[in-house]
Symmetry: C2
Subunit: 481 residues, 2 copies
Amino acid sequence: MTEANQSDSNEDSLTPLDQVSNLLRRYRLVDGLIHLQNDSSDEALADSAVQKQNLAELQHYLDQLHPADIAVILEALPLDDRLLIWSMVRTENDGEVLLETSDAVRETLITDMHSHELVAATEFLNADEIADLAPDLPQEVIDDVFRSLPVEEREQLRAAMSYTEGSVGALMDFDVITIREDVRLEVVLRYLRRFEELPDHTDQLFVVDREEQLQGVLLISQLLVSDPEMLVAEIMTKEMIKLCPDDVAQQAASAFERYDLVSASVVDATGKLLGRVTVDTVIDFIRAKAENEALNLAGLSEEEDLFASVFQSVRNRWVWLAINLVTAFVASRVIGLFEDSIEKLVALAALMPIIAGIGGNSGNQTITMIVRAMALDQIQRRSAWKLLAKEVGVSVINGILWGTVVGIFTFAMYHDPELGLVMMLAMLLNLVLAALLGVLIPLTLRKFGRDPALGSSVMITAVTDSGGFFIFLSLATFFLL
Amino acid sequence: MTEANQSDSNEDSLTPLDQVSNLLRRYRLVDGLIHLQNDSSDEALADSAVQKQNLAELQHYLDQLHPADIAVILEALPLDDRLLIWSMVRTENDGEVLLETSDAVRETLITDMHSHELVAATEFLNADEIADLAPDLPQEVIDDVFRSLPVEEREQLRAAMSYTEGSVGALMDFDVITIREDVRLEVVLRYLRRFEELPDHTDQLFVVDREEQLQGVLLISQLLVSDPEMLVAEIMTKEMIKLCPDDVAQQAASAFERYDLVSASVVDATGKLLGRVTVDTVIDFIRAKAENEALNLAGLSEEEDLFASVFQSVRNRWVWLAINLVTAFVASRVIGLFEDSIEKLVALAALMPIIAGIGGNSGNQTITMIVRAMALDQIQRRSAWKLLAKEVGVSVINGILWGTVVGIFTFAMYHDPELGLVMMLAMLLNLVLAALLGVLIPLTLRKFGRDPALGSSVMITAVTDSGGFFIFLSLATFFLL
């Protein structure tokens, strides 16, 4: 692993992206000049020599970079620049870079590659890494890769590809070092010296019996501080985290967070060691999850390539806009019911968005609290009632508080005390509605086995909009007209 | 570190929280009975014997749990149950549990403790951990702790407390093992055996000279596979991540994500080794950051104790509601400008929320894309124009598409083709406005050194609301009346 020396790159204060961009700009400028000139002129010849120099410099710079840095650069470049840089990445880095890029950007890179290039790229990857790429690879490439693998790895790839996304199996790798419990630590140390290098994130060795049943783990830190004459069985840990490949990945992530793990074993139902999960994969998972939640909340179906075509972006965004349009139509029809009232008292039209807006904001506060607590498994049947009571209590206080503010505002604007009172009452009722549904919507979604985070913000806003309009306009119709 | 055996707890399928809740319920039930009875009756005596048994069982179960699990349980319990359980946690676990709980819950626990209990709890913590708790501790406790520490740790605590929140220094610990470069690996191995245990997450030893200048790192995995006769200088790595204590913490997090680190060195400006950052701290940081963003987006100022009092919750939520109220008042006044038009054509009142709503949704899609790309440092001056053009392109297509849909809907409702055309045009214009500001708001916030994530969603919604009402109502006034 070549690691960038961070303090050095701070000193000249240019990120790798800046560096590559500058080199690219120089290249593109000269390229433009060459096309303007007569091909055989002396200037053109001189320029193309300069051009070769530019490309060599760019190549030299790229060769030094970590694949993860190259991935960041590719994601930040428009398509033409991206593909130029991609063509210059060394084949042995291709696979790593593909693993590091987002799905959308990876697609643009793979589309640009020949089958034989893709097969070559996978040669530098492990079975579990190939499995991560597999969904984006053409079938013929996967077939080729399968044929080229040794038997053991072929089995591993088959296993890795069989786990569903979002399961522990999908996070698992096969880079485990196993030992027996009846050997001395000295033997273990000698055994390790026969490796050229240890797998990344090896903080423990897995102790198995002849049937590959996991018996315990030998922590590297224990191995280092213990007397080499001792037996593995004497110092190995039997209390350890065992994950199952079919568990949801979030369960593994929670275990890593809570118990500060670097790696954890994965075993099948009989206790046979299948592989391990490492902390770097878990970090990627946590990040991807947080990002997806943020994207969904904003109404984006999936991560979008920053430089995706306009058409692709429209496709990625249409679902939530369509849902939003339906809820907006419903709210519009609710208002339509009261057109007579509005005609008589046109101030209602100007005031009603206030009630709907604050209700939506308050409902989103409640729902965010509840969804978060549910994600942390903190809500039990008994405490649900307490929470509902608390949220309704908060909404009553807020309703009286902000209801008074808007009531006074309304009175100041329209000099109509009754209109002010209706505003206050409508605010109070809509906030209580928001609190009730802010608790009930996520609980109901979970009861029906749905992800409470997905779409609950849209639902609460829909309810507080339509509900707010209805509450306010019907109160006004009843008391004022 | 005692780790829960996860597969066992799966088998009986009860989480630690469920177990504790069940034991607690039993305890509370009998407690209720005792209070109902005459104190000296035989039943009361029998019950209090049962009660002792219940408490002993609860105590026994709690003693086995990992501090992180206890923290989760405390967060999920209402205040009275929480404090009962907290009083039963063993003193040597108190500090760890306090570190694991959220700020809000920690406050409830610390309020319930005497000074001497707090001082006792810190005795089991390192200097960097005490520094993490310090902001929540009374000054007298901090003074006591200072006096009780040995000189070296006192200096470390002083240093750790001097770093601002959100800096690398705040994530740093002092558990580094240092070695010299001119010794053989065999000597290093013997040196390590003198430790009783290695600090958690020791994946590398730090090679320093006599002035504590960091020369390189010796990876444990390299140490294990190399010939013990070799010198440290021969196999140590000189290319490594060096963090500075005053860097923003996000920079450390990015380095850990990109380069899959377990630990990284922290050095001062002269290159002197100060400490290290480990992956478990980084995971906590990443999670807390993602959570804060989600909370802010929903209008919560900070993490809130699930069972906070109603009054505390109102205080935590009022800022964003107040901001929202101001933007709603502005939108209301915009509508107020057009009360004459609405009086003449009351359908406008029912239709205007559609324009505002879809604009807000579309603007949030754009702003989420841009803020995310900015967080990943993917937006350069040159590409900003490309992005603006793309977003406007998307909004034009969406505007024509959804504009046509709402136009047809409007025509179907009100049988007025001109009103349909105005809806279509207003939708198109408001989506273009949303796209322009969805790109410009975060870029502008960054230009003025503000966090582009904070409040940009509120701002875009405010603009698309007021802007949408203005565009629609002025078009209608101009073309229809």
